[in-house]
Amino acid sequence: MAKEVKILVACGSGVATSTVAQESVKKICKDAGIPIKVTKGTISEIPNKQNTVDVVMVTTNYRGQIDKPLIKVFGLISGIGKEKIEQEIIATCKAVMEA
């Protein structure tokens, strides 16, 4: 079985936008045939939680340090540049699966 890609989706409060982005990410990966496990969190949880995941996605700006691939997914909410973000998500997740 293919490796499951662990994703953290984070936003400012862990309420609205990360919930919506999380659903979009699930759908994108499902359609692309990528098995994922998504957790949701806040931006301030990234330093601790990044070690438990393969990819971090944020709906807002993150300036802190990060060792994992970081994808800005604000466009999944606003619709601006959505296709490009979808491609980035798929490419990044596939790279994790093949690693």
Partner: protein, 146 residues
């Protein structure tokens, strides 16, 4: 559980005042307690919520225990105020529409949140909110979000 929709006209000099006015309306309707509005203001400072859509909107919100009823309060401002953008630290939007969102237990409201985000980024629907009588907005929001 059904959601409460409120809409008010107002005037504010800045985003903090705008959030405070929404909070007063939400509190008067019994939807939130005292901790909600300060939490929204604190969050807005760290992680702003201005959306740079064709019709810009701000969606201040916060995760607190102090939400009694899930509610949305739309504040329609006479003059625009500046909200910093969710996706950028140094850019802002000037918006006349502020939608304060009080949602508890968000995992059970995925559909609601998805619809809500779809609505606030839909310029035609936001234009309608600018144009229609204020008392018609709660029913309109309920209809397009649910």
């Amino acid at each position: 559980m059904s959601n409460t929709y409120l809409a008010i006209n107002g005037e504010a000099d800045n985003w903090e005042e705008a959030i405070t006015q929404c909070g007063e309306a939400l509190k008067a309707a019994g939807c939130i307690g005292d901790a909600f509005t300060p939490a929204c203001i604190k969050r807005e400072k760290e992680f702003p919520t201005g959306l740079p859509s064709d019709v810009p909107v701000a969606i201040p919100h916060s995760k607190t225990e102090d939400i009694f009823k899930n509610a949305v309060c739309l504040l329609r401002l006479k003059k625009p105020v500046k909200f910093y953008r969710m996706d950028s630290d140094d850019e802002y939007v000037n918006t006349r529409l502020v939608m304060n969102i009080a949602i508890n237990d968000n995992d059970n409201h995925v559909d609601f949140l998805q619809h809500l985000m779809g609505v606030v980024t839909d310029s035609e629907k936001m234009e309608n909110c600018m144009a229609m009588p204020i008392e018609a907005i709660p029913g309109y929001l309920a209809q397009i979000i649910e």
